[in-house]
C-alpha cells in the first residue's frame, strides 16, 4: 500500500513538472504549423518603443488582408542591441530587423540579405539612406527619414518681442535666447526646456547636438564614406557655443541635469519654454498644443551658417535576416513592399515615422519635415547625420555624458578639456576598440 502510494505521488509530481515545462513547447509547435500553412511569416524586431502601437496596428491590418502572420516585437528603450543578439539566436529569429548605422553594419552585415535589385529597392526614390557593407552589399534600406534641430514656439517668441525670422545665425539666436532667459520671471517662460543628461534625454546632446561638430568636420574632409579613425575636433568651440547657450538659458539649473527627471517635452508643450532641442518625431506630440511649432537649424557660429538647414537622416533601416527560410524572406519582402505602397498603411507609418523615401508612399504632414524641405528649397545645405558613424556608440556616448555632467556642475576650462578629450580622443579609442 505504502509503495503504491509513493509511486502514485511521484507520478503526480513528475506529471506536474513535465506539464509545466511542456507548455511553451506546445504553443510554439502550434505556431509553427500555422505559419507553415500560410507559407512564411514575418517577425519584425522594432527598436523604437514610441512606434510600437502603430506597428502593431499595421501588422494586424496586413494579417487581416492577406492571412500572413506578422509579429512585431519592440525592444525596451536602449536595449535593442541586447534584444537583437538574443532573438537572433532563437529557433524563430526576426525576419525583419533594423541595422541603423555603420556600427550596426559592422556587427550584423553577415546576417543581412543583400537587398540589391530587390522589389523593395526598386520602390525607393533615393538611395541616400541605404547602408552598404565594405564589400558593397546593400545591407539595409531606409524606410523613413527624420530631421532634428531646435524646435521653436513662434507664439512665445512674439510674446517676448522677437520673431523666428530674426534668427539667422548664432549671434541672433544668442541675442534672442539670452534676452528671454533674462526676462524669464517677467515673461512666465524660459528660453530652453530642460537639457537632462539621464539616459532618456542625453542622446539629444551626445547624439544630436554633437552632430554639428561631426558634420562640419565631415564637410571639410569632403564627406565620409566610412567611420574615420580619429577626429580633429575643429568645431569643438562651436559645439560649446550652442551647448552653453542651451544649458545656461534653460528652465533648469545646469547643476541639476545629471540625474534628470525633468519633463522637457511637457515644459515645451505647456509653454514654459520657447526652445526645445529635439527631432521631427516630436511633431505629433508637440503640435497638439503648439500647432505652429517649427524647427530651426543648429546655429553655432560657423562661417556661412546662414545657409544651414536641418539635420536630416535616419537610423530606421530595414534589413532582412539572411538566415531566415526562403518563404519567410519572401513574406517579409512582400510585407515591406506593402508597407510603402498601400495608401492606408503608408499613411499610418508616415504619420508616425516621418517621410518615407518611396515612390508610392503618401506625403508627410509633419511640420518639422516640411520646415526641412523649405530650408532645402531655399538653397540651404542639409546637415547629414554624421553622428551615425559614432564608434561603439553606447560606450562612446556614456563617456561623453559623464564629462558633460562634470562640466555642467562646474563650467571651468579644465572640465571642458575633459569634454574635448571624451569627444575627440574617445572617438579614436572606441574606433580602435571596435576595429581590432
Amino acid at each position: 500500500m505504502k509503495k503504491l502510494f509513493a509511486i502514485l505521488l511521484s507520478a503526480v509530481l513528475c506529471i506536474g513538472l513535465f506539464a509545466a515545462c511542456g507548455t511553451t513547447d506546445d504553443t510554439t509547435a502550434a505556431d509553427d504549423s500555422n505559419s507553415a500553412e500560410a507559407t512564411g511569416s514575418v517577425y519584425w524586431l522594432n527598436f523604437k518603443p514610441e512606434s510600437d502601437e502603430v506597428l502593431q496596428q499595421v501588422a494586424a491590418m496586413y494579417t487581416e488582408k492577406t492571412g500572413v502572420e506578422v509579429k512585431v516585437v519592440t525592444a525596451a528603450s536602449g536595449t535593442y542591441s541586447q534584444t537583437l543578439t538574443s532573438e537572433m539566436d532563437k529557433s524563430a529569429p526576426p525576419t525583419l530587423f533594423v541595422i541603423g548605422n555603420q556600427a550596426g553594419v559592422k556587427d550584423w552585415a553577415d546576417y543581412a540579405l543583400d537587398l540589391t535589385g530587390t522589389a523593395i529597392e526598386q520602390e525607393l526614390n533615393t538611395d541616400a539612406y541605404n547602408l552598404y557593407a565594405e564589400d558593397g552589399k546593400l545591407v539595409s534600406i531606409g524606410y523613413c527619414f527624420e530631421c532634428y534641430g531646435i524646435i521653436v514656439n513662434p507664439d512665445l517668441l512674439t510674446k517676448a518681442g522677437h520673431s523666428v525670422e530674426e534668427i539667422k545665425n548664432f549671434e541672433t539666436l544668442k541675442a534672442v535666447v539670452e534676452d528671454i532667459h533674462a526676462r524669464a520671471a517677467e515673461l512666465g517662460f524660459d528660453a530652453f526646456s530642460a537639457c537632462d543628461m539621464d539616459d532618456s534625454s542625453s542622446w539629444r546632446f551626445t547624439g544630436h547636438l554633437a552632430n554639428l561638430e561631426y558634420f562640419y568636420e565631415e564637410r571639410d574632409d569632403g564627406g565620409w564614406t566610412e567611420c574615420p579613425a580619429s577626429l580633429k575636433g575643429t568645431y569643438m568651440e562651436n559645439f560649446k557655443n550652442l551647448y552653453d547657450l542651451c544649458i545656461n538659458n534653460s528652465t533648469q539649473d545646469p547643476t541639476s541635469l545629471a540625474t534628470g527627471g525633468h519633463d522637457s517635452e511637457a515644459e515645451f508643450k505647456e509653454g514654459k519654454a520657447a526652445f526645445f532641442v529635439n527631432g521631427s518625431w516630436e511633431y505629433s506630440a508637440v503640435s497638439e498644443t503648439v500647432p505652429n511649432a517649427t524647427m530651426i537649424p543648429y546655429y553655432c557660429g560657423v562661417e556661412g551658417e546662414e545657409k544651414a538647414g536641418l539635420n536630416c537622416g535616419t537610423e530606421n533601416c530595414w534589413a532582412i535576416n539572411a538566415k531566415a527560410s526562403e518563404e519567410d524572406q519572401k513574406a517579409t519582402m512582400d510585407f515591406m513592399v506593402w508597407c510603402v505602397t498601400d495608401p492606408e498603411a503608408s499613411r499610418l507609418l508616415v504619420d508616425s515615422f516621418g517621410v518615407m523615401p518611396y515612390k508610392n508612399a503618401v506625403e508627410s504632414t509633419n511640420g518639422f519635415l516640411a520646415a526641412a524641405d523649405k530650408y532645402t528649397a531655399d538653397g540651404c545645405y542639409v546637415m547629414d547625420w554624421a553622428t551615425n558613424y559614432q564608434p561603439n556608440v553606447d560606450t562612446y556616448r556614456a563617456g561623453l555624458v559623464s564629462a558633460l555632467n562634470a562640466y555642467n556642475s562646474d563650467q571651468s576650462d579644465a572640465n571642458w578639456e575633459s569634454v574635448r578629450v571624451a569627444f575627440v580622443d574617445g572617438w579614436a579609442a572606441q574606433y580602435a576598440a571596435a576595429n581590432n
Binding site: 539566436d89 556587427d107 561603439n392 560606450t395 556614456a398 563617456g399 555632467n405 572606441q430 576598440a433 571596435a434
Partner: protein, 290 residues
C-alpha cells in the same frame, strides 16, 4: 525495504538533476567553450584559442574593476558583519520589541537589487542636489553610496543568521562563565564568539561572495559613472565592478568583444570560487565543537 527505495531514487533525484544540468552545468560548459571563441551569435562561434584571455588581461578597465571590487568586497564584508553581529547581540539580550526590530531589519532584504538601487539613487540625489551635485559625478560618493545600500540590504539577513547562532550558544556555558566571574567582554570573546563561529563562517562567506558578484545594485545606482576619459581616449568607469564590467564588455562593444567578455566571466568565476573556498577553509579552522 532498502532495495526498492534505491531502485526508485532516480525518480526523485532525476528532475532536479535534469534541471540543474539544463540551468547550470550545460550553460557553464558552453560558457567556457565560448571564452575560446569569436562570436556574434552563440550558434556560430569560431574557436580562436587564448586570444580572448590575453585581451581581457590587457584591458585596463578590467583591472580597475577588479581592484575596485576587491576594495568594495572587503569594506562591505567588515561593516556588514560587525553591525549585523552587534544588532543580533542586542536583540538577543531580551529587550522589549526585539521581534518587531528583527522583522524591520530583515525587510530591506526582500526588495530586489534594481529597485533598491533606484530608490537609493533618489535618496542620495535628493540630498546631494541641495549642494548642486549628484552621486553620478563623484566616484567617492558612488563608492560609499554603494556601501550604504549594501549594508542596508544585507545587515538584516546576516543578523538573522547571527541571531540563530547566538541562540544556540549553550546556556550552561554562559552560566559557568558567569559563576567563574567572567566579565561581559570576556564572555563575549571567550564563550560566545567561538560558539557562533559557524555563523561567522557562513556570514563572511556570503557577504564576501555577494560583494564580488554584485551587479544589480551597481547597475541601478551608478552604472559605473562617473566615467573618466583619459588622454588617448581610454575610458575608466570609476564605479564599475567586475560583473558590470563583463556585462558592459559583452554589450557595449563590437562582436570581437563578446568572446573577451566570456573570458572575463570564466576568470571571474574562478576568482570568486577561489576566494570563497580560501575564506571557508580559514574560518572553518576557527570553529569549535560543542
Amino acid at each position: 525495504m532498502k532495495a526498492p527505495m534505491r531502485r526508485w531514487s532516480w525518480l526523485f533525484i532525476g528532475p532536479v538533476v535534469v534541471a540543474f544540468i539544463i540551468g547550470f552545468v550545460w550553460p557553464f560548459i558552453q560558457g567556457i567553450y565560448l571564452s575560446f571563441c569569436k562570436f556574434r551569435l552563440i550558434s556560430d562561434a569560431k574557436i580562436i584559442g587564448f586570444d580572448n584571455y590575453s585581451k581581457a588581461l590587457q584591458d585596463p578597465t578590467f583591472t580597475h574593476a577588479f581592484w575596485y571590487t576587491a576594495l568594495f568586497a572587503i569594506v562591505s564584508l567588515i561593516i556588514i558583519n560587525i553591525i549585523a553581529f552587534l544588532i543580533a547581540y542586542l536583540l538577543t539580550q531580551g529587550i522589549k520589541g526585539s521581534n518587531l526590530f528583527r522583522t524591520v531589519f530583515f525587510m530591506p532584504n526582500l526588495i530586489g537589487g534594481i529597485v533598491l538601487g533606484y530608490i537609493w539613487s533618489m535618496i542620495f540625489d535628493g540630498i546631494l542636489s541641495k549642494f548642486g551635485t549628484s552621486i553620478l559625478e563623484n566616484s567617492t560618493w558612488g563608492f560609499w553610496g554603494l556601501i550604504i545600500l549594501m549594508c542596508w540590504q544585507q545587515i538584516g539577513y546576516m543578523m538573522i543568521i547571527y541571531i540563530a547562532g547566538l541562540q544556540a550558544v549553550p546556556e550552561d556555558m554562559l552560566e559557568a562563565a558567569k559563576i567563574d566571574g567572567a566579565t561581559k567582554g570576556q564572555t563575549l570573546r571567550k564563550v560566545i564568539i567561538p560558539n557562533v563561529m559557524p555563523s561567522i563562517t557562513i556570514c563572511t562567506f556570503l557577504s564576501l561572495t555577494n560583494g564580488f558578484k554584485l551587479f544589480d545594485q551597481n547597475l541601478a545606482l551608478t552604472a559605473g559613472k562617473p566615467i573618466i576619459t583619459m588622454a588617448g581616449g581610454t575610458q575608466i568607469k570609476t564605479t564599475e565592478m567586475l560583473a558590470l564590467n563583463i556585462y558592459n564588455t559583452f554589450y557595449g562593444q563590437n562582436s570581437s568583444a563578446t568572446g573577451v567578455a566570456q573570458a572575463k566571466a570564466v576568470m571571474f568565476f574562478i576568482l570568486v570560487a577561489a576566494i570563497g573556498l580560501i575564506q571557508l577553509y580559514y574560518t572553518r579552522r576557527k570553529e569549535v565543537q560543542q
